[in-house]
């Protein structure tokens, strides 16, 4: 039970983090309780409080754990507590209760500022970037895809089994599902270094974090019939891949696409 409660508190910290939105929500609930209520607001506040109470109960956590991937995604329970609606409702009520247009406008501006400074904007360069196309995948993904399809046409070989950086592999099939992948995204890279050091090393080479020197990088992919490999130049895999029958079919500033015509 103690462990379950610790997990619950960690979940709250993980979701609400350093923002003021959790205290704002609790303040909103308190405000709505002390104001004169309509039946609808009583239902909304009661619902929210009951859900919050249920969320905080370790016994509820233990019962619902199987539905939340053994508790890993228990944070989704917090979606049932409508912090957006509660805060917005309390704020609207507060603004509307102020006397006069000027006071209401000032109240609106102040509360909006509180919400802005109490949270963190979603409009950051981390979240939003310029898109090279309406598919909204990364430029290297599109470049590799175009190169593969160009080579498929020129070589007359429609088969495409691809290995490359995880960021490209996780996107390329969204655009062209005729391309198969060497491995899926479901690799747990943290565990992989212990569970399968060879696969881990290959993935690191594909991501450009390790060099291919001193290993049988190309031989492995040839054995697995992977006919397209995208490698960053830092991996220094040219000699290794050439020795295993791969030819460079496309190059950019920092990566090369290799193709094996015998596969």
């Amino acid at each position: 039970m103690a462990q379950a409660f610790e997990q619950i508190i960690n979940t709250v910290r993980m979701v609400y983090g350093s923002s003021f939105y959790l205290p704002l929500m609790l303040a909103a609930v308190f405000y709505l309780i002390i104001r004169r209520q309509s039946a609808g607001r009583v239902v909304l506040v009661s619902y929210s409080l009951l859900m919050l109470a249920a969320f905080l109960l370790p016994i509820v956590y233990l019962i619902l754990k199987p539905f939340f991937r053994d508790g890993q995604v228990y944070w989704r329970f917090l979606w049932l507590i409508p912090y957006t609606v509660l805060i917005a409702l309390a704020a609207t009520d507060l603004v509307s209760s102020l006397p006069g247009k000027a006071a209401r406008f000032a109240g609106f501006v102040v509360l909006t500022a509180v919400l802005i400074f109490g949270g963190k904007t979603v409009y950051t360069s981390e979240n939003w970037r310029r898109s090279p196309s309406f598919e909204k995948v990364t430029l290297p993904t599109l470049q590799v895809l175009n190169a593969i399809n160009r080579n498929r046409q020129e070589s007359g070989n429609d088969q495409a089994v691809f290995a490359g950086p995880i960021g490209v592999m996780s996107r390329i099939r969204q655009v062209d599902p005729s391309i198969r992948l060497y491995v899926g995204r479901n690799l747990n890279m943290e565990k992989l270094s212990e569970e399968n050091p060879r696969l881990f090393r290959r993935m690191m080479i594909l991501d450009g974090s390790m060099t291919a020197e001193g290993g049988d990088f190309g031989g492995h992919f040839r054995a697995k019939k992977v006919n397209y490999i995208m490698v960053f130049d830092e991996a220094k895999a040219d000699k290794n891949l050439s020795a295993n029958g791969y030819e460079a079919v496309s190059r950019t500033d920092n990566w090369t696409l290799w193709y094996n015509p015998d596969l």
């Binding site: 609207t92 109490g118 963190k120 992948l181």
Partner: protein, 346 residues
Amino acid sequence: MAGALILLLMITVVPYILGSGLIRNKDGGAYALLFRYAAGWVVLYGLFYLPALVCTLMHTSLDLLIAIYLVILLAAAVYSLRILIRERINPLKEAKELFVNPNVILPSVLILGHSLVTFFMMHLDDDDYSYIGTAATSVYTNTLMVYNGGTGAVLKNLETDGMNRLVAAPQFAFYAFLSKISGIRAVTICHSILPPVFTVLFFTAFLMIARELFGDDRRKCGIFMVFCFVISAFSGFSTFTSGSFVMLRSWQGKAQIVGLILPLIIAFGLRLIRVEKLQSADVIMLTALLSAASLQTAMGAVLAAMAAGLFLLLVSFMKKSGSYFVKCLPAFVIPAICALVYLKIR
């Protein structure tokens, strides 16, 4: 061009027609246009779930699922069109009534601004690997869950391939449906075409709550909507908040749950406490909501059922009548099916 037109009709006109069967003139008021549209999307999803679940479990072709769904959709559209004609619903008149009030200006500008961001800018998320990959694979192979959507290999084991969740909640099949009928890639539909639509839908769900709380006071509704937008836009302190999902990855099932389904369940609960008698349209709406939730994610089905169940209990308690709960109980069969399927195959 024809494909684009088909898609446009499917995501605009069809939901509006379907929603007209559920939202009466008096219920929507000045916002009837938007409310019908949002309700229609819920019906669109809700009608898709059971055929998609059965076809996915049986690994039928995508074409078969589409044929079955189109027949169901046609029947629902005919039913709704009769109501639309009988009630003399006029979408142009509703649009005029919606936009004539100045209180709608600021929220509209904010929502339109965000829609433009979602259309022109890119948000990358790794979860698309399985969902959109599986949708694209379904269209390419004309199969349902025969191939691993992520790698393209034949599916051997749902759990180790990480694909079991997609069977219980086959949202990917809905995007595959849209892609197949329009000829437009699922990735383009999900990343560019639908996000602006979903932005409007999510904030319409908040507006439905506002209407239940403030009635016809459009000034308060407008203020409420601005606050909802600001809170959502500044929920970026964590990737786990509902605001983050709503603003960043609207096409994913999780965002549909937090942005559309759960707020509409709240609006439903508030409506129940307000009306004197439960209407058949209310039960249909709840059924559609829970079915739509089951389509999006297996966990969403459980969450939606919990939310709806608690609202029904509260309303029953406050009105001292168990009839609300009893009459709405059949709606919970669908999320129960979803949960059972998920537990069986996980």
